[in-house]
């Protein structure tokens, strides 16, 4: 009975962690699926969101949930800035993204990643910091769930589902979907491709930074300038697992990864659990590049 409790709690924790991973990856998924570019500096924007939450906490007493909202708002501006500095030149007037543009974005965002993480070291110092936020626990049968993690999970799922609904039910959302399938089709729907693409990017960054804020609840001592180097690959794996461009795929990929890591940790040391989780990418790319579910 105790064993069952342990397994269940492991599973539950894995899923909650997975939800946070999912929202952190969701922004990447949105941009990747719609604009078809991969932002190598994705991890650095997560880091930005996390530090945002940290400073809002230190100077304003904001808890991570509130910070997520603030970060999300900031993220919109950041996203627009990113689109017009990095992507506009490559995408403007094009019907389909070329291989060359893919490579240019890959390399330029890699440079951005270098730039941002090292600038962060200078600006924030390399010290590991964290937010102390413990709203208590709630009992669920024989399990004790930390409320902080629970709230974050709820908010994470909310963000992802809202985005799905937004894409399905609103006019702009449909324009974004049209763009992701066929750029010329966007104009047929009556929308301006640049406006659509830049909005999608802005939303993606908004979600990413909000995700970074939410992530802080799970890493009470882990906020540091180089944290992007861990969460970017995690995001990439999640997007590939769920299928690039499939919005609910973030949730699926995140849950899968969270559970895999958590379950593996019961049998092997943490590092190996992560190693295996990362390597999952390879067989998925080999055999089901569209994602593990149709």
């Amino acid at each position: 009975m105790v064993a069952l409790a342990v397994i269940l709690s492991d599973l539950l924790f894995g899923m909650m962690l997975g939800c946070v991973f999912a929202v952190v990856a969701h922004g990447l998924n949105l941009i990747w699926g719609v604009v078809k570019v991969v932002n190598i500096a994705h991890g650095e924007f997560i880091m930005l969101g996390a530090y945002g939450a940290y400073f809002l906490n230190v100077f304003g007493g904001f808890n991570p949930l509130l910070s997520a909202v603030v970060d999300g708002a900031l993220g919109i501006f950041v996203g627009y800035a990113f689109y017009f500095s990095f992507l506009h030149r490559e995408l403007r007037g094009k019907e389909r993204i070329t291989l060359r543009s893919e490579m240019v974005t890959l390399v330029s965002t890699f440079g951005l990643s270098l730039f941002m993480s090292n600038l962060a070291v200078v600006a924030f110092t390399g010290d590991f910091v964290g937010i102390n936020w413990s709203p208590g626990t709630v009992a669920l049968g024989f399990l004790e769930l930390p409320l902080g993690a629970l709230y974050v999970t709820i908010l994470a799922v909310l963000i992802i589902s809202t985005s799905v609904v937004f894409l399905d039910r609103t006019y702009i959302g449909n324009a974004i979907k049209a763009y992701s399938q066929d750029i010329t089709a966007t104009q047929l729907v009556g929308a301006n491709p640049t406006k659509v693409a830049s909005l999608a990017t802005a939303l993606g960054f908004s979600i990413t930074m909000a995700g970074g804020a939410l992530l802080t609840v799970w890493i009470p001592t882990g906020i540091n300038p180089y944290m992007g180097a861990l969460y970017a690959p995690i995001s990439f794996v999640i997007v590939v697992l769920g299928g690039p461009g499939k919005m609910l795929g973030s949730l699926l990929g995140g849950l899968t990864l969270g559970v895999v890591i958590d379950v593996l940790q019961a049998f092997v040391p943490v590092s190996l659990a992560y190693a295996v989780a990362f390597l999952l990418l390879i067989p998925v790319l080999l055999f089901r590049p569209e994602g593990i579910v149709k």
Binding site: V38, I40, F86, R89, L99, E102, M103, V104, L106, V107, S108, F110, G111, L112, S113, L114, F115, M116, N118, L119, V121, V122, A229, A232, P233, F236, V237, V240, V268, P269, S271, L272, Y274, A275, V276, F278, L279, L281, I282, L285, L286, P289
Partner: protein
């Protein structure tokens, strides 16, 4: 003016290597140390040039081969007392083997997916090594190889020389055409008979071989192998920055890139290396967006006379 198809650049580089060969006899140790590091970075730049420079497949996780080479030397010296020079050969061999194995799987993936899978592999390798007590786990391996600047210098010099010659050999002649075709349009290359998979694998293998050799030398000069340092993505990033700045795929690019990336850092030593990386990161962004061919490429494009001269 070309002799046997080889131009000014080739002889210029040979002359440079000759100069570097005799330099240590004229100057004291301190110069050698800068040169050793510069040559080390040049070696890394040439190694990633083989894959990323020539085919356009961006290997973000390339540091994994550096790590493999470093651990090859570290473990063999520590456990078997293997002579470091043999350790370097071992590093090269293992680098080659792993590159072929990894490449067989990952080179099937298109651009972005290839790049991501290399990162994932590098991270997985780091995490695996951390859990292997035979390789020192998170503590790494401390070696007692002593201060051997002349051995270091000539070993890395030899590696760079080989890389240079092979780069030339590949760029001239049939292989060069095939590679440029692949870089332009892989599928079209296949349609005219180029064995794209074999060629990519061959280049990836070369890049792994030389990165492995370089990694072994790194372990030798630092007299130790430490996982976080050795599998650091910063190395990958610096390697890419060097060829992007210098000019991808060229013979001159890696050296130029190494000079631009490494030398300033030597003077930046008083300031944290982080600042240097900020500048490099910024440079990469600007170059990727506005001057994608790097120094060599852009000069070649702008001036017809330089086109013959620079390679």
């Amino acid at each position: 003016m070309r002799i046997a198809g080889l131009g000014v650049t080739f002889f210029g580089l040979l002359a440079l290597m000759l100069l570097l060969l005799i330099l240590p006899f004229a100057f004291p140790f301190s110069t050698s140390v800068i040169l050793i590091n510069l040559l080390f970075y040049t070696a890394l730049a040439y190694s990633i040039n083989f894959i990323t420079g020539m085919t356009g497949y961006v290997s973000f996780g390339h540091v994994v081969f550096l790590g493999i080479g470093a651990y090859a030397l570290g473990a063999s010296a520590d456990v078997y007392g293997l002579d470091p020079v043999l350790g370097v050969l071992l590093g090269a061999a293992l680098g080659l083997v792993f590159a072929l194995a990894i490449g067989l799987v990952t080179l099937r993936f298109r651009g972005v997916y290839f790049a991501i899978s290399t990162v994932v592999i590098a991270l997985a390798a780091l995490n695996i090594v951390l859990e292997l007590p035979q390789l020192g786990g998170s503590q790494g391996i401390i070696l007692n190889l002593g201060f051997q600047p002349y051995s270091w210098y000539y070993t890395i010099w030899g590696i760079v020389l080989f890389e240079m010659l092979i780069t030339y050999y590949i760029n001239r002649g049939k292989l060069g055409f095939g590679i440029r075709a692949i870089k332009s349009d892989e599928d079209a290359a296949r349609s005219v008979g180029v064995n794209v998979s074999a060629l990519k694998l061959y280049l990836f293998g070369l890049s792994g071989l030389f990165a492995g050799a370089g990694g072994a030398v790194f372990a030798w000069t630092t007299s130790g192998v430490f996982p976080y340092e050795t599998f650091s993505l910063t190395f990958s990033l610096q390697m890419l920055a060097m060829i992007i700045i210098g000019g991808v795929g060229t013979a001159l690019g890696p050296i130029l890139g190494a000079v631009v990336v490494y030398l300033p850092s030597y003077y930046f030593l008083t300031v944290a290396i982080g600042t240097q990386l900020i500048i490099i990161g910024f440079a990469v962004v600007v170059i990727a967006l506005f001057i994608p061919e790097g120094i060599v490429g852009t000069l070649k494009r702008r001036s017809a006379s330089l086109r013959e001269l620079l390679e």
